[in-house]
Amino acid sequence: MKLQLALALLLFTLPASAQAKTPWALVKSTLTYHMTHPLHDVNGVSHTARGKGICEKGECNILIAVPVKSFNSGDSNRDLHMIEATRGAEYPMVVVRAKFPEAATQSSTIYADLQVQFAGQTASYTHVPFQRTRQGKDIRITGTIPSTCSDFKIVRPSFLTVPISNQIPVSVDTTWQPM
């Protein structure tokens, strides 16, 4: 009799838990783009990204957005030139959507498929590795998005007639909390 009751309760609660959503919120972030030139090596940093994530039906969908203008390279003239080159006034947000299996949230390396909207273009990157570490109830996700200027049809700025490198990898350091 007790077994039947337990079974009935289990059946009662299972569908509810199977359909449950696990929402996550981005609480801290550091996004850094790296720009290289034969005469310069520049890092632009932003801490103003916002993000949310939902894990349901075995898949996690993450959204992170950051204003283009929020990146600071330590030189206001360069930052304005960056906004101009990336059409940042016309397309003011960088939006990153990430997808990965919910099961991967327990492993130390998460391979995510990314869709990045930037400079009026959308680029996709598959199987991008991110490192996951648990810090108390927080989850820290770090990694690098291997973006390039040509992915977003950005005309590479030049200095002394030499253009910058096509590679502009973006380092991602984010801390997430369950909502």
Binding site: L11, P15, L39, I54, P67, R78, Y91, M93
Partner: protein, 264 residues
């Protein structure tokens, strides 16, 4: 409790469980399931007369056509719509002022960059006659035919020096025009090397005004058979200071310089 009663309880729980499961299921069912539900409802007994009272398909009004949105200065940056359940850009709570596309500001930035690129190119070109003028200045004290040092410049070297000085001045002020009249972006606080670059303009700018004035004074004094004296004798030192500040401004705007693995 008897066995039938416990079985009945189990059945009730199963029914409730399935009910909860449906309640939590997403409402965006595939379109193919909806017509099937409608057909089964319409084929129920007693529905026939009601069905005949409905207007025929031919008499139904056209479905509304989707409105295509176009981006303008008033619209916010639109994204490809995510499938339901995924977080949206709007849900992140950015103010509209941050997410709004601003083509006017983009045009302003484009113009600013164009003008500053011209400023950069002309600035580098200006450095060539400026350095040449610095070298031809001391060359005014050339050796004469008999090997003696000429205290006064020969007409040839003086003309070259004057021509280079004039060219430098013309190029300098053209370069300055593109920096001074490049559009300013409101609300931007200046940071980094640009501050040093602009501060140095307060040295080489007045220097580029003073140097030709002192040059004319020195020229007039020499032409009247006088030894260059007074403030005119500062033509050389002022020119050197101006060129040094100009060179420093060129380096400052490029700082920090990083040549492969060498950092300066």
């Amino acid at each position: 409790m008897s066995r039938p009663a416990s079985l009945a309880l189990t059945c009730c729980c199963l029914l409730l469980a399935s009910g909860v499961s449906f309640a939590q299921a997403r409402t965006d069912r595939s379109p193919s399931t909806q017509p099937q539900t409608q057909i089964s409802a319409l084929s129920a007994p007693g529905v026939g007369p009601a069905l005949s009272a409905l207007p025929s398909i031919a008499n139904l009004p056209d479905a509304p056509t989707p409105v295509q949105t176009t981006s303008s200065s008033q619209t916010t940056q639109q994204k490809t719509p995510p499938s339901s359940g995924e977080p949206t850009l709007q849900s992140l709570g950015f103010p509209t002022s941050v997410t709004r596309s601003n083509p006017k500001e983009q045009a302003l930035l484009n113009k600013r960059t164009h003008m500053l690129k011209v400023h950069q190119t002309l600035g580098l070109i200006t450095a060539v006659p400026m350095v040449a003028a610095l070298f031809t200045g001391p060359m005014a004290k050339v050796k004469g035919r008999n090997g003696q040092i000429l205290r006064e410049p020969t007409p040839a070297s003086l003309d070259t020096h004057m021509a280079l000085g004039s060219l430098t001045s013309a190029l300098y002020w053209t370069t300055a025009y593109f920096a001074i009249f490049a559009p300013r972006v409101p609300g931007v606080k200046k940071r980094g090397a640009i501050r040093v670059h602009e501060a140095l303009a307060w040295i080489h700018g007045p220097g580029m005004i003073l140097t030709p004035i002192l040059a004319v004074m020195a020229y007039n004094q020499e032409n009247s058979g006088e030894k260059v004296h007074g403030i005119a004798s500062l033509h050389g030192p002022v020119a050197i200071t101006t060129a040094a500040a100009y060179g420093a401004a060129l380096i400052a705007v490029s700082w920090p310089i990083h040549i492969k693995h060498l950092r300066f």
